[in-house]
């Protein structure tokens, strides 16, 4: 389907001049994006880097098909989780040797909740916020099930910092909220937790690859993050975890699989963790996923986090401004912070018919997503979203709202939008 035609060419021309001057403009063509689509869901599944297509074909045909078992050494599959982890370290203010690619965000959360609680044996509480991304809460719940006397306490973001106490073992927060895009103050919360003797585990899933993150600058303890959102690692790409160097020696993963052993190929009976961050590997690394992720991470490193952050702020500001100008009086309410320093790279708007509005947008080629009960979510991805895309998205949103086409019966049924 065609995108909405510009009704205000002067404005669009202005927006196009921003693209012409965008220092990241060359990255757009390094992604395969379908024509006639404005893709604003890269915060849920990142787009396909062109390099990945060729790389995966090569890994399958040559490294697997021809190299076979020899590729564990000859193609250094065995070193990939650490190599890609070291690259991700460069995106999040971590040092080489503090990050490894492994498993899923959920499994990595589980490992680090265990490690952190083992390091704070006398304390009862794990603190988080209600409405945190659900897997973070579910995993904490699962980890605590076998730990009598310990419990999960949920406090709203605005007073969470005051609730950190001498009884807090661990604070677990998503750095940028998956729904509202509200960003926690990593430095202040980490400092407060340390004052009280607590540890902090940051879920970077909605910030890594879009924003500047400075784990070591904030004296962070632990972090996890997702590989398939802004890192563009592909559907279900493996995740990563970070353990500050000072915590590494004392940390033992509860998921003590063979790949985390000091000498996995000695096949000895007793477990001995690897000296480095490799101890957080569990089973055999998912090679296709790790190498696909590497292609995405390489592009981000080439762009640089300062440029990513600046472009993210520009895209979000334009979106907010255009919605104010073009969509006034239509029951849209910005759920995200207006201050870029307190926000991630997506925007959330409430609308009473949110689900149907998003269906109508998707039908017109503007792909965002919906989160119950009423939240429209638009991901603005510095590497491949253009200012022009923002203009088209908001103009389409205006048309959908003005014509109320979302009130047609076909948009009225509520169903799952993943």
């Amino acid at each position: 389907m065609d995108l909405v035609q510009p009704r205000s060419p002067r404005e669009l021309a202005a927006v196009r001049s921003w693209d012409a001057n965008d220092p990241l403009r060359q990255f757009r063509e390094r992604f395969d994006l379908p024509p006639n689509v404005v893709y604003l869901d890269g915060n849920s599944l990142g787009a396909l880097p062109r390099a990945t297509r060729q790389r995966i074909a090569d890994v399958v045909a040559h490294e697997w098909g021809t190299g076979l078992i020899r590729s564990w050494n000859d193609a250094d599959w065995i070193g990939a989780p650490r190599r890609v982890g070291d690259k991700i370290a460069g995106l999040i203010g971590a040092a080489a040797g503090e990050v490894i690619v492994a498993d899923s965000t959920s499994a990595n959360l589980f490992k680090l909740v265990h490690v952190a609680l083992a390091a704070r044996p006398g304390r009862r509480e794990v603190l988080s916020e209600p409405g945190n991304f659900c897997t973070d809460l579910y995993v904490i719940e699962g980890a605590l099930r076998g730990m009598p006397g310990r419990s999960l306490r949920l406090e709203p973001a605005e007073r969470l910092i005051e609730c950190i106490s001498e009884d807090t073992a661990l604070v677990v927060l998503t750095h940028v909220h998956y729904k509202s895009a509200a960003m926690h103050d990593m430095r202040a919360i980490t400092a407060r937790a340390h004052e009280k003797g607590a540890l902090v585990l940051w879920d970077l899933s909605h910030s890594v690859g879009a924003l500047q993150v400075d784990l070591n600058g904030c004296d962070a303890d632990f972090a996890v993050g997702c590989g398939y959102k802004y890192l563009n690692g592909g559907p279900g790409a493996p995740a990563f975890l970070f353990v500050a160097q000072r915590h590494l020696a004392g940390s033992v993963s509860p998921l003590s699989g063979w790949m985390g052993h000091a000498r996995p190929f000695d096949f000895v009976d007793p477990y001995a963790p690897a000296p480095g961050i490799e101890r957080f590997l569990c089973g055999t690394p998912p090679v296709l996923g790790v190498l696909s992720l590497e292609c995405g991470v390489d592009l981000l490193l080439e762009a640089g986090t300062a440029a990513l952050q600046a472009k993210s702020e520009g895209l979000c500001q334009l979106f907010i401004t255009l919605v104010e100008e073009m969509c006034g009086g239509h029951d849209l309410r910005l759920l995200s912070p207006t201050d870029a320093r307190q926000r991630g790279s997506h925007l959330a708007y409430a609308h009473p018919n949110g689900y149907a509005v998003m269906r109508a947008l998707i039908d017109r080629g503007v792909i965002g997503d919906f989160r119950a009960p009423d939240c429209l979510r638009f991901g603005l991805v510095p590497l491949y979203t253009r200012y022009e895309d923002v203009w088209h998205a908001v103009a389409t949103l205006r048309d959908v709202l003005q014509t109320q086409c979302w009130s047609e019966p076909r948009y009225a049924v509520r169903a799952a939008v993943t």
Copy 2:
């Protein structure tokens, strides 16, 4: 490099006639295998099915690149772990709804050790055998770390069954031993464990896809298995787990990530497990890995487990016979059972210079592997190993042993062979 030339054409002709009459002969050409290589390490990393190459290219370019987030529904990525699990059920004597593809073998072991121990609260022991595949032991050790009063007991295979007692909570065994290929009697051990009120968790990594496995026929409780060996799912492919229907309702995974939730896309705070086997999902499924695995599983289902088992026995018997005929007097000692009913689909031989012999074989295009301290391991894969390959492998082994080329300095250094 060229394979060894046949010195006894009459014998080779006989062997070739077996291939001509092999009911599975058409499957060989459905794999991409490099020329001039006899690949006998499919028990470590299975070969590349031709269909997989095209399927992965399509998933990357179209489902990911063009479909983007929509493919979770439109391409049914969301249903893939269960769909492929149901297919694997057909290879292991399980019912639909008892198997799911998820995570790694190690992570799945962890989940099921927890589930089984929760179901046997008063019992102290987890029983396994020394020299079991290392990750099985490491994962049990990790799971037990937080359970005071419970411990891992290791007893040699030959008297393990007598050691199952009223104090045994769980027996964890690899059905076919990764090194010796010795097969445990699944029916007898399971029956004995149930008599004593214990549960059994079978690791099928070295049997699934090569042999007939009948979990429900043996009244099995739990199982896990590897996706990248005989299932040909690709390097680091996701694994699977089996929970007998009667245990499902009471089982809660300790790795309670969002994909195992009853309604993951409701994003509600409290955890509620999915009603079915999906409760053992943790994070977002690794789509490339799951769909690659599906291609491998489809080929095995087409072949049928009875034909796989028969061909496996034929290949192993030929290998053993040819070694006896061609390699006598060279310090080779068969470590695997001679009775096919007690053996998997690979063969292990001890040789005092095992590492160097294997290096020399690999240099000559015969790829098996080495396990310390002295074990040569040859995987005979029913779908793509030909009787002719067995002949070439043993003839090459004979040449290596006769010329003692493995005693040359370049083969003398011991190093890791993955």
